[in-house]
Symmetry: C2
Subunit: 401 residues, 2 copies
């Protein structure tokens, strides 16, 4: 995957970006800024974890009062979580310093944090970094901003689409960070999606909920999320299209392109799973409804034994059947089909071949496909996952030191 | 842990055991028999997985009709799961052959299987093994029977208690198998508990449900179980005590000793987790009720990042807080305490020390303790888990070949 050439992405009109190193992390960039020249309608989704980081609590408080923002400032290296009142005060300080630097009202700036939990923020470098961060704003610096939000990510994650709504050109551009995807409910996921589309706040909220279900929540199980998870969608209207409301063809076009951006970001997050060597796509068909299909797909995608089997190139479909059965969804195993990389292993509950790695070559490529058909309805869902390797254990046994 | 000396356990009166190698596995014992000279009241719990192995379906069918049994025959090496009608016919053949050999009615014999999923049983060695298995019955052969049910287990699991109910000596003895405990919902757990207590079927059922919640289900999350999980409790009344009904002091004594046996078996299963190097005990206090406490304890015990932290000797309490928060239970993080191996790391939501492995030595022993107090009620629970090591990945990437 190449994500390094600026030529590969479009930036929406009226947005500027910046990313610098201020000193929270040792060497890599640790501050990012996403900025719009004009007021943005905004929609955001946050973690449902009972333990919420200070910036999440603050952003929720701000958005409950004001529906429009101009900028989001992000630090990486420290999650500002489990830091009590002092953490909340630190998040407020970041908002205050950034809004002052940019000449905005405090309510127009949101803050996000990602990194280690339970340590107070080192505010000195962060506050000192606000001015150089603002001075670095440009429409070319998107990759710097994308770098600034990374923690253990191995590559930056940017996706964009340019399309037309009637005669107007519209751009949607998103950046994200992830990693630690082996246990999705513990990985901090941040996503910032910017568009110059002219769209109502209500339509924006609808679009974000829908697209998140198909992307970021299809790599995460059942609302279990980390303490800092945040997805923010900002629209500044600079494309000057006739305003998009919740329905009709313009909304469809917007939604489709938004889905393309978020799905690409989600798959990048999975591909960058700590220590992962293979990208796993789980497709479930024939469930009673989409919700049940997603539950089954999620159970398979989240199964450690399935991940191990993929890592070992081992077509152990019995583990797939068993994790589907453990999902809580009722189905008739005698109707179930299982295909691995397109090869049928189970047909109507009957094994169609003996498992033998020598004779059956599956899970060899860097992208593998697991397909399950329950033959009991029209529900379908896709879930993304990655394998687990020894490298994961090494990475996660020694994170704080 | 020593579990090899026959002198360490008691056997209940009237029970005989046998374990042999018949040829399903290459070398190790693969058939086991638990037998009572007299009719046994029986209570059993089975997997709630939608995909049930043939012997589970058959045992449920048998027990729905008859409340008493005399014997259980177990094979290891093949789970007889996802094997359709042929699998069910094979399970019936095992019952028929064993009951005939023992001179019993078919309804008096149950069968269990554990091992690989999705392959038809090799019935020839199994049927040929029935006679030598029956001939091997003795009250000394408990360890052979315990060996016969093992798959990837590294040591046999036996626990027993001798106690008095009024003037009568009563014995409870259990054997179990587990392994693969890193993702509890995928590990096949088998447990056979035998007692010479005189106890009603109703009291037996109550006792088994209660004890399973405190033991085997405290190493397993939310009813997610493998395709073959089975726990059977048999009581033949040979101790000749006044019959135990559902209440009173005799029932209490019986329950306490049963709990001691099942908790010891459960902890052995965890200690034998594939590739595990450390035994983790998670204690949660101060939840609204016991159910919520168990949910929080289970979420922590099941967190892969927590397991990795323990493996690495890393006191990363932030991961513990986050997995508690992701459990679905609502609580106030500002009240939470976290202790690791007795050392306070979080007090009323405040970090009490900086994480530093050099200055803080925790998770060094082979048994580690994680304590969480939510300070919002009287609910409490204990959950058992083990760490994850690179060895686990190696073991599970190459299971079928």
């Amino acid at each position: 995957v190449k994500h390094n050439s600026a030529a590969e992405w479009h930036t929406p009109k009226g947005f500027l970006f910046s990313g610098i190193h201020c000193g929270v992390k040792k060497k890599r960039k640790d501050l990012a800024l996403f900025y719009s020249n004009k007021d943005c309608n905004v929609s955001a989704l946050f973690t449902r974890n009972a333990v919420k980081a200070a910036p999440v609590a603050l952003a929720q408080e701000q958005l409950a009062r004001h529906g429009q923002i101009r900028a989001v400032v992000v630090n990486s290296g420290n999650a500002n979580c489990m830091t009590g009142k002092r953490g909340l005060a630190d998040a407020r300080k970041m908002v205050k310093a950034m809004s002052k630097t940019l000449g905005l009202k405090a309510q127009e700036v949101l803050v996000s944090s990602t990194g280690i939990i339970g340590q107070y923020m080192d505010m000195k470098p962060i506050l000192a970094g606000m001015k150089p961060l603002a001075l670095g704003l440009s429409c070319e610096a998107l990759s710097d901003a994308a770098d600034g939000i990374m923690t253990t990510d191995l590559f930056r994650k940017i996706s964009s689409r340019k399309f037309h709504i009637l005669d107007k050109e519209v751009v949607i551009t998103g950046v994200a960070k992830g990693a630690g995807m082996i246990k999705p409910d513990m990985a901090t996921m941040l996503g910032y999606i910017m568009t110059d589309a002219n769209i109502t706040k209500k339509a924006l909220e609808k679009a974000l909920r829908k697209t998140t279900d198909l992307s970021f929540n299809a790599i995460t199980v059942d609302g279990d999320m980390s303490t800092n998870d945040t997805v923010i969608l900002m629209a500044n209207g600079e494309a000057d299209n006739r305003i998009i409301t919740g329905g009709g063809r313009p909304m469809e076009i917007f939604q489709d392109n938004l889905n393309a951006v978020t799905r690409e970001l989600a798959s990048m997050i999975v591909k960058d799973g700590e220590g992962a060597s293979k990208f796993i796509e789980v497709r479930v068909h024939g469930a009673k409804d989409d919700r049940q299909a997603k539950k089954v797909a999620g159970a398979i995608a989240d199964s450690l034994l399935v991940k191990c089997a993929v890592a070992g190139g081992d077509p152990n479909w019995g583990r797939i059947a068993s994790s589907a059965g453990a999902s809580g969804v009722r189905f008739d195993p005698e109707k179930m089909d299982i295909k691995l990389d397109g090869i049928v292993f189970l047909k109507a509950g009957k094994a169609s071949r003996r498992i033998n790695r020598k004779s059956t070559s599956v899970f060899k490529g860097s992208e593998v496909l697991i397909e399950v058909d329950l033959h009991s309805g029209k529900g379908k869902a896709v879930f993304y996952s990655c394998d687990i390797t020894k490298k994961y254990i090494t990475l996660n046994s020694y994170y704080t030191t």
